[in-house]
């Protein structure tokens, strides 16, 4: 068998909660083998060992929220052959992107006794707003099996199999009845990307939208359906403004709803 050069992997962190990195560490049964197949060259959450770049694969967690981060992400891009943004922060700005809807200077004044020490950007933004991203793994947090899938696929040069259709399709394949229809529960499934395996509807909870907008979300139709269910606009705005609040279609819909609330 042909021995291929062992690829080098780096895991980076920007503004985030570390949950996605923990999901990688949570691949317990596979970590040893991953360590044999690829060199974990930089992963501070796991080890203080730092091997210099360039890297074959970079996994990037977190959103870009400070001027320093803005600089660093460009350096990382230059050192990375294949850059993968992981999680809602890196792919949509994350929960901290909620500040994008308000004046960040106001927040600084309210939260910090000495706001002048805080250096922050006006917006918390996904990695793709700054550099070219080769692949995005959605979710808050990511689905650890997607990490395994992507690494396994890259190692043999095949296309990773990651779904982008609605959660509903996963929900039906899992054998859940639709709780939106049977119980009138607000479920973000019809506009959210699959990836979690429709966990929440399986436990009679509406989908929270952790994996962000699906490949073709129709927010216009979703707003009408929520209104038909008797969901108030403010509840709907809250549902849209969570982990993926700043993702294009969710953001536009919540801004539209907010404007129609005010008028």
């Amino acid at each position: 068998m042909k021995q291929i050069k062992i690829p080098k992997l780096a895991v980076w962190k920007f503004t985030s909660c570390d949950g996605c990195q923990l999901s990688i560490l949570d691949l317990e049964d596979h970590l040893l083998e991953i360590g044999q197949r690829i060199e974990i060259a930089y992963f501070l959450e796991a080890s203080s060992r730092k091997v210099k770049g360039p890297y074959d694969i970079s996994l990037v967690e977190g959103s870009i929220s400070t001027p320093e981060e803005e600089e660093t992400i460009h350096k990382i891009r230059k050192q990375s052959k294949f850059l993968i943004a992981i999680g809602a922060c890196a792919t949509a700005g994350g929960i901290q992107a909620l500040r994008n809807f308000r004046d960040v200077a106001e927040f600084q004044k309210i939260v910090y006794p000495n706001p002048e020490y805080i250096e922050t950007l006006k917006y918390a933004t996904p990695i793709s707003h700054h550099v070219r991203v080769d692949l995005e793994l959605r979710g808050c947090p990511i689905n650890k099996t997607h990490v395994l899938e992507v690494i396994s696929a890259l190692l043999i040069g095949r296309k990773p199999s990651l779904p982008h259709h609605s959660v509903c399709i996963e929900c039906k394949k899992r054998g859940n009845p639709c709780i939106l229809v049977s119980k009138g529960i607000l479920c973000m499934g019809p506009v959210t990307s699959a990836g979690c395996g429709a966990i929440c509807p399986a436990y009679n909870r509406g989908c929270y939208g952790c994996f962000g907008p699906s490949e073709s979300p129709n927010l216009h139709a979703f707003i009408s359906l929520a209104q038909r269910l008797g969901i108030t606009n403010s509840t709907l705005i809250h549902a849209l403004r969570s982990f993926n609040a700043f993702a294009d279609s969710f953001r536009e819909a919540s801004i539209y709803l907010e404007a129609s609330e005010e008028s």
Binding site: E149, I151, A153, I156, C168, P177, A221
Partner: protein, 377 residues
């Protein structure tokens, strides 16, 4: 020849279930789960949703308790029999890289012998539609075939209809006409079941049971049940000339209107008892030595469904909805010689947006006529 018909006392229904069980069948029948009617494995009549009924409407579903102790006082369940004959996820093969090259291995699984308890006439028609797809084309699906050939079908003639039912427009119900082993009608006194025999297997099962031959009056009573159900059906789909009509509607402006409401969520295809699409997913492990190919349900509402070199073909919601409706009601006929719709109403109930294909067809017709009127004036 008239089908043989018998009367079975309602309290002996359990004997029928147990007779099937003793013949090695796994019983799949109606249950209640998470506030919906759901076909699942059952052990006895105890698992039945006795006295429950369903209230369905576009994008709406609720269960209701009735004051009658009916066994089958509801209509079609939220899920379909296809989940058992055409499972949502199936491992097709595994491969292993060895010293001597790649070895392929077909999974060995024991195919369960299923008795489907309470198959409605429209659902039976849907199974026959899928038979055409999986068994009567150039390539036969061995997995479907194995499940289907062993299956015992206990049909139920509907004693009630939901607001979403329109089997009468398609000639598929509410009475099962063929393709069952036994067909049952719950008579109005709640004490007797009329059972019609449709196959040798059905006949054998009947031999085990404390039945007596049905009298003409019993048959009349059963017929009355069916007529009563027919009179409850209000939804309609005009099928005459529909295929030709739809083929001429490529540019009908109504597609844009329905696209505004369609979430492209795919529910309508996955709850449909006739939709048969699947995709394959290839997996490999970290070593690259083991690979697996899985078959899973697919939907023409996903973008990947039409992915060709360079991108998907049906990108807009309009194109996807139009494709769906046209497949169900027009191209299916060219492909398989029947409609792809049996009138069960599931796509209407389980569409979160409450889109109703019978309404959409009427809207298309209205707009088309308006255009014709315009052209004339």
């Amino acid at each position: 020849m008239e089908p043989k018909a018998y009367i079975l006392a309602r309290e002996s229904f359990e004997a029928l279930l147990q007779s099937l069980k003793s013949r090695g069948y796994t019983l799949i029948g109606p249950t209640i789960r998470d506030d919906v009617l759901w076909y699942a494995e059952i052990q006895s009549v105890e698992d039945f949703p006795i006295g429950w009924t369903d209230v369905q409407g576009p994008g709406q579903y609720r269960l209701q308790k009735q004051d009658r102790d009916t066994l089958f006082g509801f209509t079609v369940a939220a899920n379909t029999w296809k989940s058992f004959l055409f499972p949502p996820r199936l491992l097709l093969w595994r491969s292993k890289r060895t010293e001597n090259g790649i070895e392929f291995e077909q999974p060995t699984r024991s195919i369960p012998k299923l008795a489907l308890i309470g198959v409605r006439a429209c659902e039976l028609a849907a199974i026959q539609v899928q038979d055409r797809v999986f068994l009567q084309q150039e390539f036969v699906d061995p997995e479907y075939q194995a499940r289907r050939e062993q299956a015992f079908i206990l049909a139920v003639n509907c004693g009630t209809a939901a607001a979403t039912c329109f089997c009468t427009s398609l000639g598929t119900g509410p009475k099962a006409s063929n393709g069952y082993d036994l067909a049952l009608t719950e008579l109005p006194d709640g004490k007797r079941l009329l059972i019609e025999v449709g196959s040798e297997q059905g006949d054998e099962v009947i031999q085990d049971l404390p039945v007596h031959p049905a009298k003409p009056a019993d048959l009349q009573e059963a017929e009355q049940v069916i007529q009563n159900t027919v009179s409850q059906i209000t939804r309609e789909l005009q099928t005459e000339g529909l295929q030709t009509f739809l083929y001429a509607q490529y540019e009908n402006p109504h597609w844009d209107e329905v696209a505004k409401r369609c979430l492209t969520c795919g529910n309508c295809t996955l709850v449909c008892p006739t939709c048969f699409c699947s995709t394959v997913e290839d997996r490999s492990d970290l070593s690259g030595d083991l690979a697996e190919r899985w078959r899973t349900w697919d939907s023409c509402f996903s973008l990947e469904f039409t992915y060709l070199h360079g991108g998907p073909i049906r990108t807009s919601a309009k194109a996807r909805y139009r494709h769906w409706l046209l497949h169900k009601l027009a191209t299916w006929i060219d492909q398989f010689g029947t409609l792809g719709c049996v009138g069960c109403g599931r796509c209407i109930t389980w569409c979160p947006a409450g889109i109703d294909l019978t309404e959409e067809v009427r809207s298309l017709q209205r707009l088309a006529h308006r255009e014709v009127d315009h052209a004339k004036s």
